[in-house]
Symmetry: C2
Subunit: 356 residues, 2 copies
């Protein structure tokens, strides 16, 4: 098979620990399927600030640009939280999304049967929940002009939320296509009763909808969506929304699964290139102890295989291996009911590799 | 006692039905406590559009301006959903908030013991949940400049989110004061890792905090807060946040109580004037059937008594009467387990008045 280039970005906190296990899984698929991966590792986030003075070094960006996909651990931590803006890990995250043109963030929220009890929602409400939040990732209030000015009422801060038709079209098309390959239901979330960007969003969705007559479309206001996710999570299939709303709703959706240590995500642009990362953060409180759960990162590899490389069989195999290890009762501390029986990061990685 | 003027705005859908029951409760307190209320009724929302061509007629605004408090039912409905902006009920809502200077929206999310089962959250997670969301109501992206312009990528829409120090200070002081009279915990929610308005917000909160050394302060990012509300609702006391985040989080918080038909809200400005309304909407699907739950509106009267008039004894009495009617097993359709035993709107109102 053709060699695939993967940029590996361990990042901060538990990032390096969980990424190491995902790399074992990558290696195992070379052995099993004859794939060839060429990996380059880059500094990013807090560690990059410490070692190079910037959260997103040019060298790391170039490694990503010449790769077919990027695997990211996690970034950030209290150490850098009070830094000025240019020296914060999040600034690197926003920078890499923009520089790589990753306009779409795909966040599946699925229930792992064996972890249903970990959710704070009632099991009968969660039953059958399997949704994807498609979040616009390079527009909106995240990237609009920001500034301060003096007024008679003290300093004033301004953020600008901007969307043009093209930006809405490309993400909405992608969401319709994802829905078409699933349960054919698309929920577009906006605040069209208040925001001009939301009115443009809704008009654009309605203009595109006739091209997908097989997909059922509903418009839901963001405040109502925050409620409906709690009330009827299993009724959602694909949710598409703008950057800020997507940030909030995808985290709410992730939390209600009860499996936040298990969820992976993809950030995509045009074409097959993508950046893959676990939904959880860098968890500085447990970093370096060898107890972090590597499953979300391992499942991010499965997502990479499917979405960027078309390696569906191998992607399925990884997912099955994870399931079989969980079904056999193995748990890291975050998901263990009996914490005294919890296994560590490398043990979990090894079990999954063995199950493949 | 001095006469209090109350502007009564029934609005649309079930609004008139639930407001009628709240007015009975008002009357009952005149009898029991010797209060004197002078009420004026005004058109607002969809019905005002139909009858006067504008959602917020000048006459209604004047009735509110000369009142000591406003009691609002609910506004909106599908009939007006596709109207141009100036002819939409929501535009009236934003207009009345601004015109009356109601910069603070107080949304208690409490659990009614007898309704705990109605929540989709596990009862053991909900146990002890009793929080208030204090939402800034007249600033931010709701009221900033909005426009469209042509670009090479099609039309572009712009919304502007603006906050000045004064606007943040007044709402944050109010939230600290509310927290001081409760469990003394304040959670300020922002997105300071991305937004300039959020950085100004956080700086201002930190500047004010030393004036309230008895209140424990935490800063939580909005995406994380959407998660933590689900994971540990009972650990929150008072949450203070800007307009858009407050819209989303207060609805999420309301829904997790399982008692959305029971929650009241207050919108306050400087001084004791306030607008009181149920959290639920106009429910056009059940309007006119006499089955709507009037409890949230009745509890809005209790809130009005406490926050605008200082009538604490009467406010407590209303709350106790509601509780005793619920404890006796009476339910409207929305909260009944056995729907065949549900009682109607007026029956519920009469029972509460009788219990007083
Ligand atoms: C760290 C932050 C800038 C980022 C975001 O808001 O996009 C994070 O919350 C996420 O969702 O990936
Ligand atoms: C109707 C709408 C404009 C309003 C808002 O977003 O403020 C509503 O959702 C609310 O929360 O009162």
């Amino acid at each position: 098979a053709e060699t695939k280039k993967i940029a590996i970005i361990p990042g901060d906190g538990i990032g390096p620990e969980v990424v190491a296990e995902a790399v074992k899984v990558l290696k195992k698929t070379e052995e099993l399927f004859g794939y060839r991966f060429e990996t380059e590792t880059g500094l990013f986030g807090g560690i990059a600030i410490d070692e190079t003075g910037t959260p997103l070094p040019q060298d790391t960006l170039e490694k990503c640009q010449r790769a077919d996909a990027v695997l990211l651990g996690a970034v950030g931590g209290p150490k850098w939280d009070n830094n000025p803006k240019e020296l914060r890990p999040e600034t690197g995250l926003l920078g890499i999304r923009k520089a790589l043109g990753l306009f779409s963030n795909i966040r599946p929220a699925v229930i792992f049967d064996c972890l249903k009890e970990a959710s704070t929602l009632k099991p009968e409400v969660l039953e059958g929940t399997d949704l994807i939040v498609v979040r616009e990732l390079t527009g909106g209030i995240y990237f609009g002009e920001k500034f301060r000015r003096e007024t008679e009422n003290g300093q004033e801060a301004v953020d600008t939320c901007v969307y043009n038709v093209k930006e809405v079209e490309r993400i909405v098309h992608q969401a319709f296509q994802i829905a078409r390959n699933r349960r054919k239901k698309l929920c577009s979330v906006d605040k069209a009763n208040v925001l001009e960007t939301s009115r443009l969003w809704r008009e654009t969705v309605n203009k595109i909808a006739p091209e997908y007559p097989d997909v059922e479309l509903e418009h839901v206001l963001v405040d109502n969506c925050a409620m409906q996710l709690l009330r009827r999570p299993s009724s959602f299939d694909v949710i598409v929304t703008e950057n800020m709303f997507g940030d909030i709703l995808s985290d709410e959706a992730a939390m209600l699964t009860g499996s936040i240590g298990m969820l992976s995500s993809a950030s995509l642009g045009e074409g097959s290139f993508g950046l893959y990362e676990p939904v959880h953060g860098s968890a500085p409180d447990i970093a370096g102890q060898g107890i972090a759960n590597p499953i979300a990162t391992i499942l991010s590899v499965a997502l990479m295989f499917k979405l960027s490389f078309g390696y569906h069989e191998a992607g399925d195999l990884i997912e099955k291996a994870v399931k079989s290890v969980l079904d056999a009762g193995h748990r890291t501390g975050d998901i263990a009911v009996d914490k005294s029986k919890a296994i560590g990061t490398t043990a979990m990685g090894d079990l999954i590799v063995a199950a493949m």
